[in-house]
């Protein structure tokens, strides 16, 4: 029982992580030409 929950959590975390990276690096949204102050132009 407990192991099942833990495994579900692991898989969820993994899917979220992959989704985040894919979105960040491959889904390059339309280049923002907005300000480069606070957001650091998306540095990192």
């Amino acid at each position: 029982m407990n192991t099942i929950i833990q495994n579900i959590l692991v898989v969820t975390a993994l899917v979220l992580a992959v989704a985040f990276l894919v979105k960040k690096f491959f889904w390059t949204k339309k280049a923002s030409t907005k300000s480069c102050g606070k957001d650091d132009c998306g540095c990192h």
């Binding site: 833990q6 992580a17 480069c36 650091d40 132009c41 998306g42 540095c43 990192h44």
Partner: protein, 699 residues
């Protein structure tokens, strides 16, 4: 309540537009004591008296309406296009009391567009110091507008400015200079060809075409039919216009401004004599760098060790107190060590930004630009490339954007291509951890070897950038000529608020930006390291137990063997093994190889990746540093991170192009995949070769 008033802040670079913007809107946009800080327009809202609201736009600095670079063009396009939703109801020209003459050129041009124009004379706090006194009434009469004498530093005059903006409808809109005076014959013909258009605006559109060619001419259509002068004639007329304007300005200032040179206590000249000296200038710069890096080491070693220990105990606590299972392992072995690998660098990053922003705010950075300019010229680059190179010490992305104020395309391209060589803050974590492992702690003349190595790496980065620029300059066949005048702002005491804001903002964006990536990568890496395909991984216990059955190992050692066998046969182990032949000649093992590969997303990931890989399967929770120090090279049997492999790694990170975000920005700014691809390939193969040579020579 009428509609919002559109207000545009315009002015020469470094006159304090953004400071005025911040004072009006209460926002905190970046302010810095050198020209070209703002490269794109920024917007904010200001509440004026009587419930009126103003929409304020901060624009990049521009010397005149005869634009020659991309960021200046932003201003002109806005002013020439009445249909733009941001077209200003009132223009606020911000000038610096110490450079009024030069600043007024732009003012007269904008006034001639017959837009209500308020003149802000900023930095009023410097007047007494410089022996300047102004007769505001006379100036208002001569310039035919209202003036606000402001000091954003002393917070004076802002309310006057707000009142002037509120009552902008009362401002006279007569031009300063009758455009017809420039060349009566030509301008009369021009006007009769387009009787409904403002003469000066026609003139701007025509000349803009000469310099740029992409100003929208919707409003002045059919202009193509009116080409009666050659380009060089137009340029000559433009010069005549400038001379006429300066005559007007000189007359005005003669009446309204007096400068008592005896009253001016000029520290600046004396300081500049040393700080920009042919020899002493560089010596001082060198000393400042050394002190800076030494301080980064000395001040951050205690917090760094503390954080490192804290994360180790957090992992341990998690394992002991959370219910056993894979998710708990993920937290204790994946997430916590991974995040620890970035949080540990907060002190250094904060100190680095502290120094950078103090150097910027005091005005010293502009002297550095001047010093560097002298060197750069020999390599075919102008000083305008220096600003991006220096701001690249924080992050290459804003630096690449900062190249927008370079007029010549060739020079801009070269600068974009070489900027990633400068040591950005993402390299700092990698450098720090490896230096602390492989460079001895000793000191020479009070300066630590470790700090000197760090400084050397920064210099190598600059060197590589300059060298690459030299080669590119020879190779690229693009015609180009550009000139550069370094603007020397005044020395100022840094404003604590500006410095603190920059440090907090930058550190926050470093930690959270990198933190998210590292979090994601640690989760994936942990997964790949904790699971594997096939029988080798699944039957690891049986295989290892039978392998060592004769040796009578105690359970702990046996467990260790099992864990490392599992790791080697996990997904990540297999991948690492596959790339091992490629990196073994550089002195690395497959784990470092994985860390290098994941660093291509972002360099900061390096330490976190190693921390995660080392944690998986090990029972003892240890600090990152101890773990790295304990690793052994499987072939040579020596510590994995020794002098040879350490130097090789440092050099690899110094030269390799490991940052997806920078590549994306380069693609955007150059509008082609060709350049980022070239950058990635050239820089990374160069890094590989250098690292290879370093290891083979030193081992």
């Amino acid at each position: 309540m009428g509609k919002q008033i559109n207000v545009a802040l315009i002015g020469n670079p470094n006159t304090g537009k953004t400071s005025v913007f911040n004072a009006l809107t209460g926002l905190n946009q970046k302010v810095g004591n050198y020209p070209g800080i703002t490269v794109e327009k920024k917007e904010g809202v200001c509440k004026l008296p009587r419930g009126v609201k103003a929409h304020i736009i901060d624009l990049p600095g521009t010397y005149s309406l005869n634009a020659s670079s991309l960021d200046e063009n932003v201003v002109i396009e806005l002013l020439l296009n009445k249909n733009d939703k941001d077209f200003p109801d009132v223009a606020v020209v911000v000038s610096d009391v110490e450079n009024l003459k030069r600043n007024l050129l732009l003012f007269t041009q904008i006034k001639d567009l017959e837009i209500p124009t308020i003149l802000v004379i900023n930095m009023a706090d410097r007047m007494a110091y410089k022996g300047i006194s102004l007769d505001i009434d006379v100036l208002e009469k001569e310039l035919n507008t209202k003036i606000a004498l402001v000091s954003t530093r002393k917070k004076t005059g802002i309310d006057d400015l707000k009142n002037l903006i509120t009552n902008f409808r009362d401002l006279p809109t007569q031009p300063c200079l009758n455009a017809r005076e420039i060349d009566p014959d030509y301008f009369t013909r021009l006007q009769s060809a387009f009787p409904n258009q403002l003469l000066y605006k026609l003139w701007l559109v025509i000349t803009q075409d000469v310099n740029f060619g992409n100003v929208s001419r919707k409003e002045v259509d059919a202009l193509d039919d009116f080409k009666t002068k050659s380009k060089s004639d137009l340029k000559r007329l433009q010069q005549k216009e400038t001379i006429k304007r300066y005559q007007f300005i000189n007359n005005t200032l003669k009446k309204g401004q007096t400068i008592d040179l005896a009253a001016a206590k000029d520290l600046r000249i004396k300081l500049d004599r040393i700080l920009t000296h042919k020899v002493w200038g560089y010596v001082v710069f060198f000393m400042i760098l050394l002190l800076m890096f030494q301080a980064i080491y000395d001040w951050s070693s205690i917090p760094m060790d503390f954080i490192d220990g804290l994360f180790a105990s957090m992992s341990e606590w998690t394992k002991d107190h959370l219910p056993q299972g894979q998710f708990t392992n993920l937290i204790a072995e994946g997430i916590i060590p991974g995040l620890g690998g970035i949080v540990i660098f907060i002190p250094q990053i904060a100190f680095l930004f502290l120094f950078i922003s103090i150097l910027e705010e005091t005005g010293y950075m502009s002297r550095v630009v001047f010093l560097m300019d002298r060197i750069m010229r020999r390599f075919g680059l102008s000083g305008k490339s220096v600003v991006p190179l220096i701001s690249g010490t924080a992050c290459a992305i804003p630096a690449v954007m900062a190249t927008r104020n370079i007029e010549s395309w060739k020079e801009r391209l070269i600068t974009i291509l070489v900027t990633p060589f400068t040591t950005c803050s993402a390299r700092l974590p990698v450098y720090l951890i490896i230096i602390s492992l492989v460079i001895p702690k000793g000191r020479f003349l009070g300066l630590g070897y470790q700090a000197m190595t760090l400084m050397l790496l920064y210099l190598i980065g600059f060197g590589a950038a300059i060298g690459a620029a030299y080669i590119l300059n020879k190779v690229l066949k693009i015609k180009n000529r550009s000139f550069f005048v370094v603007e020397m702002p005044n020395y100022k005491l840094p404003l604590f608020k500006n410095v603190a804001l920059t440090v907090i903002e930058k550190t926050k964006s470093f930690v959270f930006g990198a933190g998210k990536i590292i979090l994601a990568i640690s989760i994936i890496l942990w997964f790949l390291a904790s699971y594997g395909p096939g029988d080798d991984f699944n039957n690891a216990e049986a295989i290892v137990t039978s392998q060592y059955s004769k040796e009578n190992l105690d359970t702990e050692t046996l467990q260790q063997h099992i864990a490392s066998y599992k790791l080697e046969h996990s997904f990540i182990g297999l991948t690492g093994r596959a790339i091992e032949p490629l990196i073994q000649p550089l002195g690395y093992d497959w784990k470092i190889g994985i860390a290098i590969v994941s660093s291509f997303a972002a360099r900061e990931v390096f330490v976190g990746t190693l921390a995660t890989i080392y944690s998986v399967g090990s029972d003892e929770e240890d600090t990152i540093k101890n773990r790295m120090a304990g690793e052994v090279n499987p072939i040579l049997g020596t510590p994995l991170f020794n002098f040879a492999s350490g130097i090789s790694l440092l050099l690899f990170y110094a030269f390799a192009m490991q940052c997806m975000s920078t590549l994306a920005v380069v693609k955007r700014e150059t509008n082609s995949w060709k350049w980022p691809t070239l950058q990635l390939a050239a820089m990374s193969s160069f890094a590989y070769i250098v690292a290879l040579i370093a290891f083979q020579v030193l081992k």
